[in-house]
């Protein structure tokens, strides 16, 4: 294969990936997540379907059992709430009162079974205030798989 035909093949692959991303990717990214209120609007048709759901973690709703790795909490958009269940450890920035996005399946009975939990963080960066506990060493996440973290 000459250098030229290799390049041409590469260019075709890049062009194909690009058109796929512009067509499919933008459309999917435009509705990256739905809110609890939007999920409820879908009514019974939402049951047993996969979604990405985003909202704020309701303060006081988080229960996590480190022994069984069972995590339950509620997500809200200020209007409606959805109960979320997940097995595993959430990201370190996952906290009550902050934004989270969950991926998984909506079951009947206002229950969402999440396979992935993503924590949103704000665009504000501040040093810790005096007396405030230091943030956890999040970089350790990069060195240890989540299963080995406490």
């Amino acid at each position: 294969m000459t250098r030229k035909s290799k390049l041409l093949m590469g260019a075709i692959i890049v062009a194909a990936a690009l058109s796929y991303l512009i067509y499919g990717g933008i459309r999917e990214a435009a509705v990256y997540y739905i809110t609890p209120a939007e999920l409820h609007e879908k009514g019974a048709s939402a049951a047993d379907r996969s979604f990405r759901l985003g909202g704020m973690v309701v303060p006081g709703s988080v229960h996590w059992d480190p022994g069984t790795l069972q995590l339950t909490f509620r997500l809200t958009d200020g209007k409606e709430q959805v109960a979320v269940m997940h097995t595993g450890s959430p990201p370190d920035l996952f906290k009550e009162g902050t934004g989270a996005i969950v991926e998984g399946k909506y079951m009947s009975g206002n229950l969402f079974i999440a396979s992935t939990i993503l924590a949103k963080h704000s665009e504000e960066y501040r040093p810790p205030q005096a007396g405030q506990a230091q943030a956890k060493d999040l970089y350790r996440t990069l060195m240890k798989p989540p299963e080995e973290r406490r």
């Binding site: 030229k4 390049l7 041409l8 590469g10 260019a11 890049v14 062009a15 990936a17 690009l18 991303l21 512009i22 990717g25 933008i26 999917e28 990214a29 435009a30 509705v31 990256y32 997540y33 985003g54 959430p90 990201p91 370190d92 920035l93 996952f94 996005i101 992935t116 939990i117 993503l118 924590a119 949103k120 963080h121 704000s122 665009e123 504000e124 960066y125 501040r126 040093p127 810790p128 205030q129 405030q132 230091q134 943030a135 956890k136 060493d137 999040l138 970089y139 350790r140 996440t141 990069l142």
Partner: protein, 227 residues
């Protein structure tokens, strides 16, 4: 001769800037209240992507100038700037991915910010492939200029993506309306690193354009030798 002096000055200033950037980023700036030490990746991620935007803006402007005046020098600048832009964008994406794993809880997700940035990278990888594929220099330059102008239009879309669509990525901390969301000590680290990467970009650009001119000179000499 002036070019060589400028190149050396930019190189020295870039090294000084990068060393100062390491100091301000790792030692001068405090850790973040929420994210701790890992937030320092910002001092690499943000300057890299901002300089990439600038590199593609240079491609945009010099491509328009090339189409208007057909001057080879403008094309050499566009082609060189696109190469550096691809390098810096790829590094920005890699740094962002490493930042995302401990904070968001994932290396990657297809939200609008990440998707439009990947599109930018692919457009300019395609640009470089196109330049390598077309043998006729003036046709290659014309095709490249058209693609370079269209490709740059993705940059404002990336910047606005966090406003227009729901994303996992947080809104902008720099280049935003209103007061800065970054603490003053952290801004020092952010802007020294930004300055350092701007200087590094300038150094790469001047050097790469000089190499391109040397290549033309070589082709000219070969043709003269053959004649």
């Amino acid at each position: 001769m002036i070019g060589r002096g400028l190149e050396r000055a930019l190189g020295i200033l870039a090294v000084i800037g990068l060393v100062t950037g390491l100091y301000t980023g790792f030692l001068y700036a405090p850790p973040d209240a929420v994210q701790g030490e890992v937030q320092r990746i910002m001092y690499l991620h943000v300057p890299l992507i901002l300089v990439s935007y600038f590199a593609f803006f240079v491609v945009f402007v010099t491509s328009i100038l090339y189409l208007a005046r057909r001057c080879e020098r403008h094309d050499a600048i566009a082609h060189s700037s696109a190469e550096i832009g691809v390098l810096f964008t790829a590094l920005a994406i890699a740094a962002g991915s490493i930042w995302g794993r401990p904070t968001w809880g994932t290396w990657w997700t297809w939200d609008a910010r990440l998707t439009t940035t990947t599109i930018l990278l692919l457009i300019f990888i395609g640009y470089l492939m196109l330049r390598a594929l077309v043998d006729d220099p003036s046709r290659g330059a014309t095709f490249g200029a058209v693609l370079g102008i269209i490709g740059f239009l993705d940059v404002p879309i990336i910047h606005m993506s966090v406003v227009w669509w729901r994303t996992l990525h947080q809104p902008a901390s720099v280049l935003r309306p209103g007061p800065s969301t970054v603490a003053p000590d952290m801004q020092v680290a952010l802007y020294t690193n930004l300055a350092a990467f701007v200087l590094l970009y300038g150094y790469f650009l001047v050097k790469r354009v000089r190499l391109e001119k040397a290549r033309w000179e070589l082709i000219r000499l070969r043709m003269e030798g053959a004649a």
